[in-house]
């Protein structure tokens, strides 16, 4: 299994040239080859969503995709969410509303919500719950995550021109 392929990944607008085995998951490539350890692995079977990243704007389980499949796609991870020192409205809302405890699931929830809100900024609370039910959190009981995403959605709507 040591046949390796050289590919270039576009992650958060930067190019990463990596030489990887075809069987390597996108999550492992991001974490081990690109050094972007903000993407977390909670189950490696596509249920918990801790590894959620955006691929061409859509939330994707990075544990269920091979790194080689991501070539030529625009990948966004939690490291690219803030604008320099300025936090993204979702990050701010999670902070203000205690939307995280241990913080392990947080990058996945942030990217899931970011992707969903970019697709539909007008989500109702029920729709937000529907989307967020795709990821698992073991600390918060979810209520502050739902609240933070709702408040961030409001904030993002008022910011739009």
């Amino acid at each position: 299994m040591s046949d390796k392929t050289a590919i270039t990944l576009d992650v958060n607008g930067k190019h990463y040239a990596v030489t990887i085995e075809p069987r390597r998951s996108l999550a492992d490539v991001l974490r081990e080859d690109c050094g972007l350890t903000g993407t977390h692995l909670g189950c490696e079977h596509g249920v918990c969503g801790a590894c959620t990243v955006l691929v061409d704007g859509k939330p994707v389980r990075a544990c269920l995709m091979f790194g080689v499949q991501a070539e030529g796609r625009a990948i966004r991870t939690v490291e690219g969410l803030a604008d320099g020192e300025t936090l993204h409205p979702l990050q701010k809302a999670f902070w203000e509303n205690h939307g995280l405890q241990c913080g392990f699931c947080t990058p996945g929830f942030l990217m899931l919500a970011a992707g969903a809100l970019e697709e539909n900024p007008e989500m109702s609370e029920e729709e937000i719950r529907d989307v967020l039910s795709s990821n698992l959190c073991r600390c918060t009981g979810y209520q502050n995550i739902v609240k933070a995403v709702r408040l961030a959605a409001d904030e993002m709507r008022t910011r739009r021109p």
């Binding site: 249920v47 939690v78 913080g103 990058p107 073991r138 979810y142």
Partner: protein, 758 residues
């Protein structure tokens, strides 16, 4: 300024939100090897041999070890509740002679990368002569390891406790009420799996394990003992920890193997388990059966309680020793007077994953049992369940209430509590009568809706002691060094707020050090809701000590008498009107080579006892057996809330786990002992669809007299009575008192009950 009582946002959050956390799998070292554990595929059998040849031949595989390669390592010892007779049942780091559960480590493979290590592990063949597994903890005890440990039975110990004249209680009984209940096998299941990086620095001959959690100082000492090293040559370092819940951070075989390998192989060794391994190998918990007999009078007052309980301890007795059984036996009486009590707690081994503690260990289970009993008593006597509770609650004037027995080596003395007051407040808060009435109306209209209530007493602040040191540098940066650990609950913020209360500095100037054995000589870690009570009190004492030191120096600087110098808003002032800030005092001291510092140690012989009430309203779907939790309220008196937002967060999170255990989560095994819940597709944790917005009623009615802050632990009470409240609500919804006697109430199980099944 964020002192005590302020819902400050957390100091911890910024790096976690930016993807800059440092969790166990995020640590790396140059030249590191990756460790993969080969696990038993069968539940019970004689281990005849392990063939490692093919694995060793795989390019990239550096070493493969079996038990004979690590025979000098002793079994993993108990950290807590060392009960006579348990020692022979401790787990060795690699299975020796027998495998005793699916997941039992049989061999370890070390390779140059993680994928290769996993490939190598797939090539290791275990030759096992399979035996019939023991899966029922109620069955007659059998042999632990039949050929090599003759006579050693699968019941290592029975924990007996009691007080009062139980025979007289039953002789005087108006009625005897009996009940058998069972709580399924659950566990904490943190979102981060276990992991570690062990690095040996040859220059200093120091072995460091990164990825430590929960009890770093204890584990440092235990690893040093097992490896035969001075403890100064072993350090543990905690990064971010992705949830604890009791199970993460105990000393497991894999931690010891990684450390041992870093020494023997001369390279850093990294180990990160996958989720399947986690569900097979990290501690399970719960899984208790209770047989209760209560002697009651006409009011439903319990004259005596005779109890027998069985803990399915799994394959071996791990670090917790008899903790779960001991706590269950010691705290089963809960908030009630119960003048006579006798309990026998059977620790039973089976061929399942070994068990330890999980948030509210022994209380989630015993609360379910006791509250089901109260409901049964009410049902049999035709009384209102709330009235029966009221008749049994320990009255305020009986506080401090000496239970008359011990648990975790401490006397059970309820330090303070206003139980009747909290009951009245909570019923009013939720409009209990209105809830009952509306549920009855909806039932009359054809829905299956019900309301249930569960009472609990928690315990927190386990000693023996904790230490904190605070320093302020000349530039104003404040550092609090503790021996505590963070498992994601907000330790840094809470300790900073306690410090800010005294020193009146912004918490953003503070850095809280935890989980670093090289920074402080001892620390008891994070478990048993002890952090805010024990370490918080130590920080309070250290803050006062620092303030006194600063005041003396400020008096010199202000040319005034120490007792005439005032302190407000972080500034010392003399009667003459001259002033100097805490920071200026620190800078002044630093300029003369000294440091402004304070130290505090807090010791406690007794735990304290927060308490509360859970109320649930549920709707049952008679067709599917599904249960929807419509409303959930937790009332919890924790004495004093340092950060109410974080307290509410603890309650809501714990409650969600409780709902998981009440309705969905269970480690199920087939008749061969194969685990059927080895992925998140089968071990069903609730999502945000299954968890309602939990309403909290946080009270500060009965501060603890046992510590300077008056605080009691807030980490566990959100889970303790969930099973009890939901079971009562389902009974009510279906108008079938006593229907629910087993958790989880899965749809299949409830569907069968609705249709007349067992």
């Amino acid at each position: 300024m964020s002192g005590i009582g302020v819902s400050a946002r957390r100091l911890e959050d910024r790096p976690l939100l930016r993807g800059e956390g440092r969790f166990a799998a995020d640590f790396n070292a140059p030249g590191q090897l990756h460790m993969r554990v080969v696990r038993s595929p069968v539940a019970f059998g004689r281990l005849l041999g392990v063939d490692t040849e093919e694995a060793l031949a795989l390019p990239g595989v550096v070493a493969v070890w079996t038990a004979s390669d690590v025979s000098e390592l002793p079994p993993i010892d108990f950290r807590m509740t060392r009960i006579e007779g348990l020692a022979p049942y401790r787990q060795r780091v690699l299975a020796t002679d027998y495998v005793r559960y699916v997941g039992d480590p049989v061999a370890v493979v070390f390779a140059t990368d993680a994928y290769t290590a996993e490939d190598g592990a797939d090539l290791v063949f275990c030759d096992i002569d399979e035996l019939d597994p023991v899966l029922d903890p109620l069955a007659e005890p059998t042999l632990f390891m039949p050929e090599t440990q003759p006579g050693l039975l699968s019941e290592p110990a029975v924990v007996g406790k009691g007080y009062g004249d139980i025979d007289a209680a039953f002789a005087a009984a108006h009625r005897v009420v009996e009940l058998t209940v069972r709580v399924g096998r659950h566990s904490g299941v943190p979102l981060e799996t276990r992991g570690a990086l062990a690095v040996h620095d040859a220059k200093t001959d120091t072995l460091t394990m990164y990825g430590a959690a929960k009890v770093p100082h204890y584990n440092r000492d235990a690893i040093a003992r097992m490896l035969g090293r001075d403890r100064e040559r072993v350090q543990l370092s905690e990064g971010h920890v992705g949830g604890g819940f009791g199970i993460r951070g105990e000393l497991y075989p894999e931690d010891v193997l990684a450390c041992f390998a870093a020494l023997r192989l001369g390279a850093a060794v990294k180990w990160v388990e996958d989720r399947r391994e986690h569900l097979l190998a990290a501690n399970h918990s719960r899984d208790q059966t209770y047989r209760l007999r209560a002697a009651v009078d006409v009011r439903g007052f319990i004259l005596g309680l005779d109890a027998e309980l069985f803990t399915d301890q799994g394959a071996y007795v791990r670090t917790h020793g008899g903790t779960v059984t001991d706590l269950a036996a010691g705290l089963l009486p809960g908030p009630y007077v119960i003048p006579a009590y006798r309990v026998a707690g059977h620790i039973r081994l089976t061929n399942k994953t070994p068990a330890g503690t999980y948030r509210a260990p022994g209380r989630y289970e015993s609360t379910f049992a006791r509250e089901r009993l109260i409901d049964r008593i009410a049902g049999e006597l035709g009384l209102d369940p709330v009235a029966v509770r009221r008749a049994n609650l320990v009255p305020e004037e009986a506080m401090p209430f000496h239970r008359g027995l011990d648990t975790l080596g401490t006397h059970v003395v309820y330090d303070s509590g206003r139980y009747h007051d909290l009951l009245d407040r909570t019923l009013a808060h939720v409009d209990y009568d209105g809830e009952r009435k509306r549920a009855a109306e909806r039932r009359a209209a054809g829905e299956a809706v019900g309301v249930g209530l569960g009472w609990f007493v928690e315990k927190s602040g386990l000693g023996p002691k904790d230490l904190a040191r605070i320093t302020i540098a000349g530039d104003g940066r404040l550092e609090i060094v503790t021996g505590v650990a963070s498992i994601g609950q907000g330790v840094e913020t809470v300790l900073a707020q306690i410090c800010a209360e005294t020193l009146q500095l912004p918490i953003e100037t503070m850095r809280v050090v935890h989980g670093q054995t090289d920074r402080i000589e001892y620390g008891m870690g994070a478990f048993a809701s002890r952090v805010t009570v024990m370490t918080g009190s130590a920080v309070q004492i250290a803050s006062l000590d620092l303030l006194a030191n600063a005041r003396a120096e400020a008096a010199n600087m202000l040319q005034s008498a120490t007792d005439r110098v005032s302190f407000a808003g972080g500034i010392f002032a003399s009667p003459a009107g001259a002033s100097v800030s805490l920071r200026e005092v620190a800078a002044h001291l630093e300029s003369s080579g000294r440091t402004l510092s304070g130290e505090g140690e807090f010791a406690a012989d007794h735990m304290n006892y927060p308490y509360g009430i859970h109320i649930a309203r549920v709707r049952v779907d008679r067709e599917t057996g599904g249960v929807a939790v419509e409303r959930y309220v937790v009332a919890y008196d924790i004495g004093r809330a340092v950060n109410p937002m974080l307290v509410e967060g603890q309650i809501a999170g714990a409650c969600a786990q409780g709902i998981g255990g009440a309705l969905f989560e269970e480690f199920v095994y087939d008749e061969g002992g194969q685990p059927l819940a080895a992925s998140f597709a089968d071990y069903l944790m609730p999502t945000c669809h299954e968890v309602p917005t939990v309403e909290t009623l946080v009270r500060e009615d009965a501060p603890s007299p046992l510590n300077p802050l008056g605080v009691k632990g807030a980490g566990e009470g959100g889970i303790t009575a969930v099973g009890a409240a939901i079971a009562a609500a389902i009974d009510d919804a279906l108008e079938r008192p006593g229907l629910i006697s087993r958790l989880p109430v899965s749809p299949a199980r409830l569907h069968a009950l609705i249709n007349g099944g067992p």
